[in-house]
């Protein structure tokens, strides 16, 4: 680490006081790095998380530039060669890498458009759930007492009813088809997780001395929450938000599969699988590939979330022996 031999200082002048420069130069002080630098270091040590990160970036790009990336339209039926295009197994011919469906539509393109929907909906859900959940959790945790009680009872109310059932009910009657509405309904399911975590964190942070010091200095509640406590909770919030993204992808797929979530004309991977199911089991790729894509994306998100958790939580034991 530090070069020990070369840096011997001259004799000190004052008698009776040690030369503290020795302390720094003889390898006693480790180079101080910022917290984020350490976190970044730790994250990049996880090869799986890094690989997943790149995968997700690729997926994100595909999602954003779906129109450019997909070789065919979502509903594009090749009318000039209809018979020859129906129900093709995956092939390199005409770049039908995922084959075609019962109407001759290129499946890879359909899946790409489905990814786009999933991608944006999941991000939207995570953002909305995180914002709302953090707000509720922070207020509950910071003020404690009656406010906390009230808010937690409210959360309990929501938790008492099975989430999926509420989702199905709500989307059956309110949000069918439209990605935005489905997103809002999904966020309604996911915010409680974040709220609970943030509440727990704020409850314990509230007791810490630096909060008392800030109060004594006359800082307003909002300032204390936003500037002092919130930064300390960013780690767990980010990790949980990542998990919400993964969860949202899976739940959205399930919803559209069951016919309650996003429906045509919007692209939805779950719907693709549902349609594929209708083909019996002969055109097996119709069911297989969209699901595989979901698995890969969800895996990647989970790995990244795991890597983030390790990176942001320095108390983990990592002695490898």
């Amino acid at each position: 680490m530090t070069d020990q031999a070369a840096r011997l200082p001259e004799e000190s002048t004052a008698i009776g006081s040690p030369d503290l420069t020795l302390t720094y130069e003889s390898g006693v002080e480790m180079k101080a790095r910022s917290q984020w630098a350490y976190a970044r270091m730790r994250f990049f040590r996880h090869r799986l998380a890094v690989a997943s990160l790149f995968t997700l970036i690729a997926v994100g790009l595909i999602a954003i530039f779906a129109d450019q990336v997909a070789l065919y339209g979502y509903d594009e039926i090749p009318l000039d060669n209809l018979v020859g295009s129906i129900g093709l197994a995956p092939t390199f011919h005409d770049w039908h890498l995922f084959g075609t469906d019962q109407l001759g539509r290129d499946y890879l393109s359909r899946v790409i458009f489905g990814i786009r929907t999933s991608f944006w909906v999941a991000l939207f859900v995570a953002a909305l759930a995180t914002c709302f959940g953090t707000l509720v959790g922070a207020i509950a945790g910071y003020y404690g007492g009656k406010t906390d009680n009230l808010l937690m009872r409210f959360t309990d109310l929501i938790l008492t009813l099975p989430g999926i059932a509420i989702l199905l009910t709500a989307s059956a009657f309110f949000g069918s088809g439209d990605p935005m509405r489905v997103g809002v309904i999904l966020a309604f399911l996911f915010w409680t997780g974040i709220a609970r975590i943030v509440r727990g964190l704020f409850l314990s942070l509230r007791e810490k001395e630096f909060v008392e010091a800030a109060k004594a200095a006359g800082a307003s509640d909002l300032r204390i929450m936003a500037r002092h406590m919130l930064p300390n909770t960013v780690g767990p919030i980010v990790v949980t938000a990542t998990l919400i993204v993964a969860g949202a992808i899976l739940v959205e797929a399930a919803l559209s599969f069951l016919g309650f979530g996003i429906q045509p004309p919007n692209a939805a991977i779950g719907k693709l699988i549902a349609d594929g199911q209708g083909e019996g089991f002969s055109l097996w790729w119709l069911v297989t590939f969209p699901g595989l894509v979901i698995v890969v994306i969800a895996l990647a998100v989970n790995f990244v979330g795991d890597g983030l958790r390790d990176a942001l939580d320095p108390t983990q034991r990592r002695t490898r022996n």
Partner: protein, 325 residues
């Protein structure tokens, strides 16, 4: 302890009532007119439609309808379905029994398996077993339940195609003529094999990870060090001290996962065409009939409340620090 339980139950009833009001309003408002399609169909006796509307109070305000619902729910087996006038509760009981079979078997197996995997992974941290188990956990958590169910069906069909063997049935609770007594139950088990497998995957993935983490934490704790310092055999240290304590957080995880279980059950039953609560709910939603939907939600909510209460009591039983007396 008793006072705590009673207090919890009372509080839960209040929550249930509050929830029922909100959900009822949601369902009724959102469903719109359940007779809409009938009104628009030619050849349907519109007078008859109006009669049904009047009977079921479809034109009254939300509050009035809620009142009628409460009356029906408490006194009349949750009332009857809108169009077919079938009593709801008997149907609900039937499907609930079936779903319980599926869910209980799946959860019990999942818990046992997950505990084993989690403990072994923790004791052999970073070994091949650990990495394999972790990989499968991640896979399990990333796989959509409905897709896994479908894939298994595809697999079974293909196996039949290649080899002619029917390993596991892929649909419904029983064959057409399953016999009686033990034959019935063997047939049922045969049919439930795949659904149970599918339902287990997510649970095992979740529980084993938590068990592993909990075990790891406990194994490095001070009291395990004390046990070793006393000269206890390693086996006793692991079983008496580490394992017992590591189990405690798992109870909470299992309780929290109940909602996910229900979700998984709904999807699994749909794919495998099982006559259970999940399929019942989907169909009820399809008819836009508020009564079965409400009945279903109330029963499920009650189940959740009871389940959570049991989990809390179990937790207190395992961890003396938390007992309520």
């Amino acid at each position: 302890m008793l006072t705590y339980v009673i207090r919890r139950l009372l509080y839960s009833i209040v929550v249930l009532i509050a929830a029922s009001i909100i959900v009822f309003a949601l369902v009724v408002k959102g469903a719109g007119d359940p007779l809409a399609s009938l009104r628009m169909t030619p050849n349907v006796d519109q007078a008859g439609v109006e009669r049904i509307a009047a009977e079921k109070h479809l034109d009254d305000s939300v509050f009035v309808r809620y009142g009628y619902w409460v009356k029906d729910a408490t006194t009349n087996q949750f009332g009857t379905t809108l169009l077919t006038n079938k009593p709801i509760l008997p149907d609900l009981w039937r499907v609930m029994r079936n779903t319980l079979q599926l869910v209980i078997i799946a959860e019990l197996l999942a818990i046992l398996l997950a505990i084993g995997i989690g403990v072994l992974s923790a004791l052999r941290q970073y070994s091949k077993f650990d990495y394999t188990a972790t990989t499968f956990s991640f896979l399990g958590l990333a796989t959509p339940v409905f897709w896994l169910a479908l894939m298994l069906q595809v697999l079974m069909v293909n196996i039949i195609g290649w080899t002619g063997y029917h390993i596991f049935p892929i649909a419904s609770l029983n064959s057409v003529d399953p016999g009686s007594g033990i034959h019935f139950w063997i047939d049922r088990a045969h049919h439930l094999a795949l659904p149970v497998l599918v339902l287990m995957v997510a649970s095992v993935a979740t529980y084993s990870r938590y068990m592993r983490a909990s075990m790891l934490e406990v194994v490095h704790s001070d009291y395990v060090r004390t046990a070793r310092a006393k000269g206890l055999a390693e086996r006793k240290v692991t079983m008496n001290h580490a394992f017992r304590n590591a189990l405690i957080p798992l109870v909470t995880v299992i309780a929290l996962n109940f909602g996910g279980l229900i979700a998984g059950a709904i999807v699994t039953e749909t794919v495998f065409s099982l006559d259970g609560m999940g399929l019942y709910f989907i169909n009820a939603l399809g008819t836009a009939d508020p009564y079965p939907v409400m009945a279903w939600l109330m029963i499920t909510a009650t189940a959740i409340i009871i389940f959570n209460l049991i989990a809390d009591i179990a937790y207190g039983f395992l961890d003396p620090r938390v007992r309520y007396d």
